[in-house]
Symmetry: C2
Subunit: 213 residues, 2 copies
DNA sequence: ATTATATTGATAGTTTATTATCGATAATCA
DNA sequence: TGATTATCGATAATAAACTATCAATATAAT
């Protein structure tokens, strides 16, 4: 019974926010920081921040706070962002290009080594310094590389088939931007980005504001 | 005391998933559907689905299920997706283009009537049939239009200033793709899309899988 | 030296969300 | 007709997340 301790998902989701802020502080030469300060920055409660940070294993000192560089290191270690993770991106459309163009992910250790598409116009090009290959070549090109993550930015109709190819290549995680619920083996993790869910929350809150007038 | 009843955010976030599926069923001519069927489709529990659907005010009939078209209509009404919502998008970079290019949002009543940028290369062009104007013109162009939503896909450094302009135009909601926590009046709602949060969850789950081996 | 203060970490309490249970209903089948 | 079954809605139980509280600690101020 290897009871793996699990951490609150909302806490994990907040870590990147703190990390960004902490790195900024680090850049300014700040050596120490308190939960109160971080909480103020993001309009949260200090207890919440303290609890979130505690999942990384770091402890602070009363009346002093935390060491900024210790926190940065601990968060990156906790998320596995301290080392680089190779990824394939499939679907070099506008969303795929946007992800390729976002430098922020490089900070998270994400290294997208190749993109794939079926569009002859795109194959052979490079998008934001990333080469685009024919989707047909995916399995062949991936099989000798240690590709850990597959990023799915294809049309829904292709999602399941591409997921299968990525799994064949040996990815351990899929970052799924399609609304398709994928059938995948239990040892592969899948994280879905649901933009519609976010828009639904915005919409419902707008609607609610309406009613309050 | 107008105690506005509020609904579980996770339920609201799941509604678009159901909606998509229900529309698909509708397309196949299915008139009725049960929670059990929906739950199976998404690997959830039927009680969960039933509770989620109940927030729209629709009720089903025992042994029968729900009327598909009634559900579709009710979800769209609940989210305000039955009528069109005009929006400005600011920041016509790759992420902005991706959003302009995603047809799905039109289904949600989102009508992006104009995009804005500061890049002379982009100003005057159209991206996915949407005209791109100079950011300087935003307030002037928006002030006589009923723009309800502003979509922020600008670099972090510009986020707060652009948000201010959007509020001046009279938007009631901001869909914020930047990692910046915006200072906005309390009557404007802001929904943040945190791609790093999603990646953090994926990363931590990969890390966890590692440890289990 | 004593007091006041900012901060942490732990514990307890509260709220929110998920999951389980069960009686009622309406269809189908024997 | 009566038994069986799938389903709903309501209620209860559990789990997860958030918030409040407080003793302990270390600094600064008196």
């Amino acid at each position: 019974m290897s009871s793996v301790k699990s951490f609150p998902i909302p806490s994990i989701q907040r870590l990147p926010v703190y990390l960004r802020f902490l790195k900024e502080q680090q850049g300014r030469g700040e050596a120490l920081i308190s939960c109160t300060r971080i909480a103020d920055e993001f309009g949260q409660l200090s207890v919440q921040v303290r609890k979130d940070l505690s999942i990384t294993g770091i402890s602070g000192r009363p009346k002093i706070g935390y060491r900024v560089d210790e926190l940065v290191e601990a968060i990156e270690l906790f998320l596995g962002w301290d080392s680089s993770t190779a990824a394939f991106l499939v679907g070099a459309g506008s969303l795929g290009s946007a992800i390729l163009g976002y430098d922020g992910f490089a900070d998270h250790g994400l290294r997208i080594v190749a993109a794939f598409d079926t569009d002859p116009q795109k194959i052979g090009q490079t998008i934001h310094r990333c080469p685009v290959f024919d989707l047909k070549e995916l399995v062949e090109r991936g099989k000798d590389l240690p590709i850990e993550i597959g990023i799915l930015t294809v049309p829904s109709s292709a999602a399941q088939e591409v997921a299968r190819m990525l799994i064949q290549v040996g990815v351990r995680g899929i970052w799924n931007y399609t609304p398709v619920r994928l059938e995948i083996p239990s040892d592969v993790v899948c994280e879905e980005v649901k933009l519609s869910a976010s828009f639904a929350v915005l919409s419902s809150r707008l609607k609610k504001n309406d009613l309050q007038l």
